[in-house]
């Protein structure tokens, strides 16, 4: 990259000198970890489910490459391009999420996926970044343009999405989308009374979910009273961490991948903990924290409300997703199936996360006078 001159005025040249290269590098590191963890975890899983041992690796190599391309490609866009992309993506993802209720593939009791050749697409994954940007635009545009009830529209769209996700059901995704939207409203200056009301509402909704959805109830119960039920997965995961210790058992020496059904996806962090130890896990955690905190701190310098809200939402989504994954693997919170961005196996997830990060990078590119055209 050193070949790019500062005088290079081409698209790529301007991109290189304006993009947040630290975050870009962090994303590259995460993708690298993703490759390594895929090599470690997925052959065992593939063999256990009777697939060719390399099937997951080959797929993920392709998807991660694609994800890298998406990150760069999207980050080349201008803020207005991002806005249009997000609007279009939001509409398409909404439509496809609705489609899942009709034509979805039912896996483990939920209709979240649409079968495409080569992968199962989970439209709500894409809905998350697109809605974050769209909501940010609606809110900021509502501020800018009198008589445009932007915030209200955003709330309406959110309610629509929430209903869809509840019907799938995908409570985890709903929680993340809700949290993201809430953070955006909070950043937009929602008054503290409403914040308190929203927090109370969120708590009530969480309790309602606990009461209404049996699988949520069961997971929370098992979290609160580990002795009461089957905690096989989390116990195994914790054993993996314990087995790994500070430096890990060494690449390929882990065994949690042989016993956990989702070792390559939701429990990939445990595989990393067992084979590479606490130090590498702290490194992964540090990279995520770096991306999140740096992203948020950089927004302090941002003048444009849309960019702040959009980026705040995207970062919140990204960071929450990472946190939920790692925390539930570590039994810090009740088990929630959520992928670790870039590191877990899953094409749909990797592309969606890449889209969000690409948007983030695009929006945080340095602009002349901080203008947003």
């Amino acid at each position: 990259m050193a070949t790019l001159s500062r005088a290079d005025n081409s698209l790529l040249g301007r991109w290189w000198w304006t993009v947040d290269r630290w975050t870009l590098g962090a994303v590259g590191v995460l993708i690298g970890f993703g490759y390594i963890m895929m090599l470690a975890a997925s052959p065992a899983v593939a063999e256990r489910i009777g697939q060719s041992r390399d099937i997951f690796i080959l797929k993920q190599v392709f998807f991660l490459a694609l994800a890298g391309g998406v990150v760069v490609g999207v980050s080349l866009l201008s803020p207005s391009g991002i806005r249009r992309l997000a609007l279009a993506g939001c509409l398409i993802a909404l439509a496809m999420t609705m489609l899942t209720l009709v034509h979805g593939v039912e896996i483990k009791g939920a209709r979240r996926w649409i079968a495409l050749p080569g992968l199962s697409l989970q439209p709500s994954e894409f809905l998350k970044p697109c809605f974050a940007v769209t909501a940010a635009w609606l809110i900021s545009e509502g501020r800018r343009t009198p008589r445009l009830p932007g915030t209200l529209i955003a709330v309406v769209v959110y309610v629509l999405i929430a209903l869809l996700l509840k019907s799938q059901p995908d409570i985890g995704m709903l929680a993340v989308v809700t949290a993201v939207f809430f953070v955006q409203l909070y950043l937009a200056g929602m008054n503290l009374f409403l914040v308190a009301v929203a927090l109370a509402g969120g708590g009530a909704a969480a309790f309602a979910a606990y009461v209404l959805f049996p699988h949520v109830h069961s997971r929370v119960e098992r979290f609160l009273h580990p002795a009461s039920g089957d905690t096989y997965q989390v116990t195994t995961a914790l054993e993996a961490f314990g087995n790994g210790g500070l430096l890990g058992r060494g690449p390929g020496e882990g065994r949690v991948k042989d016993v956990l059904p989702d070792a390559h996806a939701d429990f990939v962090f445990a595989v990393a903990g067992e084979e590479f130890g606490m130090l590498v896990c702290v490194m992964i955690l540090g990279v995520f924290a770096f991306v999140v905190v740096r992203g948020l701190m950089r927004l302090l310098e941002e003048q444009d409300l849309f960019v702040v809200l959009a980026c705040g939402g995207l970062i919140t989504g990204f960071g929450l997703q990472a946190f939920v994954n790692m925390a539930s693997t570590l039994q810090l919170i009740p088990t929630k199936g959520m992928t670790l961005p870039f590191i877990s196996y899953g094409g749909s997830s990797a592309l969606a996360v890449a889209l969000g990060i690409g948007m983030l990078l695009a929006l945080t590119r340095r602009r002349h006078h901080g203008d947003v055209p």
Binding site: A188, G189, N243, L246, M278, L285, Q303, G319, L330, H369
Partner: protein, 706 residues
Amino acid sequence: MREPPDDPRTGPDDGEPTPPPPSDMPPPRAPAFRRGAARDDAVPRIETVRLTAPDLKRRAAMAKTRRRLGFTAIGFGVLFVAVMLKLADATIIQPLQPHRPERPIAQLLDPPKTAGSVSPARRATITDRNGEILAISLPTAALYANPRELIDPADAAHKLKSVLPKLDEEEAAKRLAESGKQFVYLARQLSPREQLMINALGIPGIYFEPTERRRYPMGRAAAQVLGGVDVDGHGVAGVERFFDQRLHDDPTPLRLSIDVRVQAVVRDELSQAMDEFRAIGACGIVMDVRTGEVLAMVSLPDYDANMVGSASPDERFNRAVTGMYEPGSTFKLQTAAMALDGGIAHIWDEFDASRPIRIGRFTITDFEGKHRWLYLPEVLAYSSNLGAAHIAQAVGAERQRAWLRGMGMFNRIGIELPEVGLPIVQPASNWKEVTTLTVGFGHGIAVSPLHVVRGTAVLANGGIMLQPTILAKSLQGGGHLDAMPANPTQPLPPPPGERILQQSTSDTIRKLMRLVVTDGYGKTAEIPGYYVGGKTGTAEKVGAHGYRKHTNVAAFMSVFPMNQPRYAVYMMLDEPHANASTHGYATAGWVAAPAAGRVIARIGPMLGLLPDIADADAIKQALYIPLQPGRPPGAPRTPPVAAATPEARPAATGQRAQRPGQPIPANGPMTPVLRPAPRDQRHQAQAEPPAAPPTAAVLVPALATR
């Protein structure tokens, strides 16, 4: 150029100047925003800034947003720090040890434990008196299949055949194909290696059943005593059968009185003697005369107890307790004892051995040719049938029967073996005078060798009745010897138990037994320092047509050391044949007594008895009894029974004259004898056809009584 230094950004704490902005001011950045204008032409924005109310409001909102961004970042920081703390906790602070690797092992260990508690405990081990293992159950496995779970019976049979070469593949495949069954035995008693290899085949529907296998590490040692077990582990003979329930219920080892070292010596000597004299069988017993414990019980031919199933009936036949033999001259000790104990005869009494006794249809003769009156010690030393018959006659049928009954000669021996046989004894109604006479020298009655051993041991131990046992009583041999007399010439204190004869009678019998070895026909058993005493006995066997010539049973009944009796040693050969070394004789003194001597020489040190040479003279003196004792003053010369035998007529002298020139050792088998009259079944316990009708009116006791 990236960031103009005059960028009008302001932080929330900047102390922003707030002049009231004119309400018609354009948005703050509008003046600087001139698209297409040269950068240098830009009007310095600082000069065009107008702070309007909306602008301030917007700035305030942004300030709030930034504040909240900070809070959000702090929130995320808290979340990630929490994850990191939990991560440290899970990995290095209190790592959860992986317990799954241990769990399968525990699960593997558990089922056998529970299975073991459900299935019967292992059959108890049998040891000898020193703890050497004679029989032990080893865990093994039986192979069975559930045909319903099999996928391919033929393939399974083929695979199994590769591990079990003995398996009949076709038969196995046929049985495995019987889908109606759920349980098919395929093989028993797999070795651990076979079990492992079959397990490695991974055939579904093939299972192992934990079983056990009875092993007899000593093989042939005490085979008939131990008996054996069938495939289901149930005792079929011997101790295994007698104590079947005990061995099944109580896992503590069963300690026998057998001493495998003694057992091996006896078997070795018997087997050598059997080969040397081409005997068809042999029997040897060593018994503690003070406790009744049997230290060795050998019956040849024997078998490997591990393969009891393939042993022949003859091999499984325990001659020591099942075989009923006429005891022959060894019984003369009983006759002498009963006469001495009842005061009926004295050692200085003489008995007429000059003429055969003719009684009814029978004629009793001696074969050693003293042809004179014999003192009582001479009767035993020279094994005179006539003398013994006269003594028995003096005792009388009633006292004789009472004595023998008291000695247990009429009942089963009572040792803990299921094979014990019933002695063959004339009923009282048929116990005629001739019976009294012949029983006096050990004919007309058939008892097991162990009966003879027990009877002789009682005579030697001071007169205390014994119950022979196969179970160990004392820790080491020679029980109840807490106070061993220092003086080797004194008899041992009698063991506890029921006295059935006087101590003085026992003392006399000991001297008489010793006399047989020093001066009589038992000289070949002498072992210096062990003061062996004994009595020979050679009896012709009874066949289908009466006594069979040249087929006899030669036994030597010995006890040692005679000064302080400890062990009885009985050695018997069935149908020995004479050879050059015995000068043509196959009698007990030639074939059995030497073997008994060798046994004594070998087992004495094992049992803690060392030859006592130092006290030889004193002991010899203590055990001395003259062949022709002088009559103490005042004692009657004639035995009180001499006149009480009116029926006993001297036999025709002509019969004696038929064999005038015979050598002194000449004896029964060499002597032409008449066919015997029908007698009681004096044969081995195996039922033989009744004896043939009398072929001659005169019976010569065909019994080589030496």
